[in-house]
Symmetry: C2
Subunit: 366 residues, 2 copies
């Protein structure tokens, strides 16, 4: 009898030709293919070892306030009929301008003691996209990523070239700053602690084994600063016209070397948006997010396997990524206004708002 | 009756739980889920406006000879029980060392008159991957991409940092050269012609409309040099142990500016490999290949929609990419040893060999 029902459900699914109908294996889908919210917005401020016992009440309050400010900024735009692209850019700029997050002001330091920023932006209506990697003089990299999308024929610009592109724009929205603008004492001390640890490890190694090459430094895994891998901000929004946009911005890893590029500026890994499926912004150990194609994979599971948004983010974050050994999370929403905030780390700074103005702000695993 | 058969086929498909069985909509699948070749290798040397009427018999002979040499180099490794990773690296090195292709020696010139190279490499057994963007002193970028995968904890390194990583390796297989090594007269003249054309266009613009910013230069679309967007080399191989590897290497676009990064070093766009599905190497207008997630999308269509390799490459190259406006092609193979060489341009330099030693070399649309 169960099999028969299953069969009927399958035939129905196929006759509907609806790519977004429920997956046959979903007994109790958590999202339904009905409009749950006319518009919606979701943000993250990074995932990692975020534990209540390590947080002071003051810092908790600061994070709560800034996440609330960021999401309300985007929500206001959507409520007034603005575009999801404007909402995503505005919400991310609030977080970039805050030293609380590893993006823009407050970004972590590279091995060479500078701040080097990555960002990406995608328009789900056109599948157009823009991204920058390794910019050092642009106050709001998310705005530059959007400009790469709209004002160049390219998707990804890097290094000094991306800074030169920013300067050539002569756009008041793309503010050029000196690299020292990004300096914060906390992040600079963070780099110093990693460098000290690295020197200790190097000294230990030289006592016990033959002198290794500089490459060994790349393998540094410092438990104290593991979190520096996860600091990223991101936003996904659905507007009243049914358009989805997504963006991600980061300062990358503390002590990054060799021009390392993580997943944040990589379309399909750090950011993806498609009106037909969903929008996604990632935060986590970037190398695994690239290998697992995290952002696009969630969209593909919805489009090709008929999973709901919640099922798709769970599959990727709690199953596929875990099997690879990757840690982090995503915020995502689909064209029905369903929202998912999914992570496999102890915590993720996050917030969401729907068309009723309901606000959820979170940090820890509930 | 037809519907009933369809239903039976569906039930069978689900009861088998075989992700790679035929798609229900495939009436006459071109590939079957049976081992067609114990091992196989396929390469490309770029796609674009490759037309017989523009080719001299001498040049045609040279391309044929070099494609044959490259694929036989890889095939020999597979035949002797070597790994798909070794075969991919060796075949691509042959093409990188030849001035016929836009990779390694013979790479196109950037706006600043240098050669800047990108490459990526992926191991389908572990989903591990490595890539480099904008290296200027490494003779064989594909070997460096493989080293990023095996000798660092990163996936993507860029610019001077990637060159520094190469130097630190002190590996005889990673030969450091001066940038002038990559110089070829043809490619240098190619840049000069683009720059002249650009200056003409700029002069025309200034006569007819207000002075535009430097950004407008990015929008240059020169029909004479359109092909310079497509020059890339790539290889995918399946070895006797069932392991798939894929790699891609390119000099990018003639006259590229602002540190532009195309799809070649982007895992999921330019290169993807997964033993469970397939391996893919792309060549084409990189921006569209990033937006369309070309390489991973082919894998996802096999894994989630049950398409055959041929159906999946056709869907992506002849349908989805065309709708976006993207031109180019892919070479791909699956774990059954099926091979696909699919492109929507007038031609693609390509070759394939199977376990019987059958060799196919092609350039034009058949």
């Amino acid at each position: 009898m169960k099999n028969l029902l299953f069969l009927v459900a399958l035939v129905f699914m196929i006759s509907c030709q609806d790519q977004n109908s429920e997956a046959p294996e979903a007994v109790e889908p958590t999202n339904t293919p009905e409009q749950t919210s006319e518009f919606a917005i979701v943000i993250h401020g990074g995932a990692g070892t975020i534990l209540k016992e390590n947080m002071t009440p003051e810092l908790e309050k600061e994070y709560n306030a800034k996440l609330t400010e960021a999401i309300q900024t985007g929500h206001e735009i959507l409520k007034n009929g603005g575009s999801s692209m404007d909402a995503v850019e505005a919400a991310i700029r609030v977080m970039e301008d805050s030293p609380l997050f590893n993006s823009g002001k407050g970004a972590v330091f590279t091995h060479d003691g500078i701040n080097s920023l990555d960002a990406s932006f995608m328009d789900g209506a056109t599948l157009n996209a823009g991204a920058v990697a390794g910019v050092t003089t642009v106050k709001n990299p998310i705005s530059l990523a959007r400009k790469v999308m709209t004002d160049s024929e390219h998707v990804l610009l890097s290094g000094d070239g991306a800074d030169a592109f920013a300067k050539a724009l002569q756009d008041p929205n793309i503010e050029i700053v000196s690299n020292s603008y990004f300096y914060t004492e906390n992040r600079f001390k963070g780099l110093q602690r990693v460098l000290e640890k690295e020197a200790e490890m190097e000294a230990e190694k030289q006592m016990t084994e033959p002198k290794t090459t500089a490459l060994r430094q790349l393998e540094l895994k410092d438990p104290y600063f593991n979190d520096s891998k996860y600091g990223t901000v991101g936003c996904v929004a659905l507007d009243k016209n049914g358009n989805i946009a997504a963006g991600t911005s980061t300062g990358g890893m503390t002590n990054k070397k060799y021009g390392r590029i993580g997943d944040a500026p990589i379309i399909g890994s750090g950011t993806y948006a498609n009106n037909a499926t969903c929008g996604v912004s990632s935060t986590g150990h970037g190398e695994y997010f690239i290998r697992a194609q995290v952002a696009y994979d969630i969209s593909a599971l919805i489009e090709y396997s008929g999973l709901t948004l919640k099922e798709a983010t769970d599959k990727v974050i709690q199953d596929k990524l875990v099997k690879l050994g990757g840690t982090g999370g995503v915020v995502a929403l689909d064209h029905y206004g369903n929202v998912s905030m999914d992570f496999n780390t102890p915590g993720m700074y996050r917030a969401m708002m729907n068309d009723k103005g309901d606000l959820i702000v979170g940090m820890y695993k509930d």
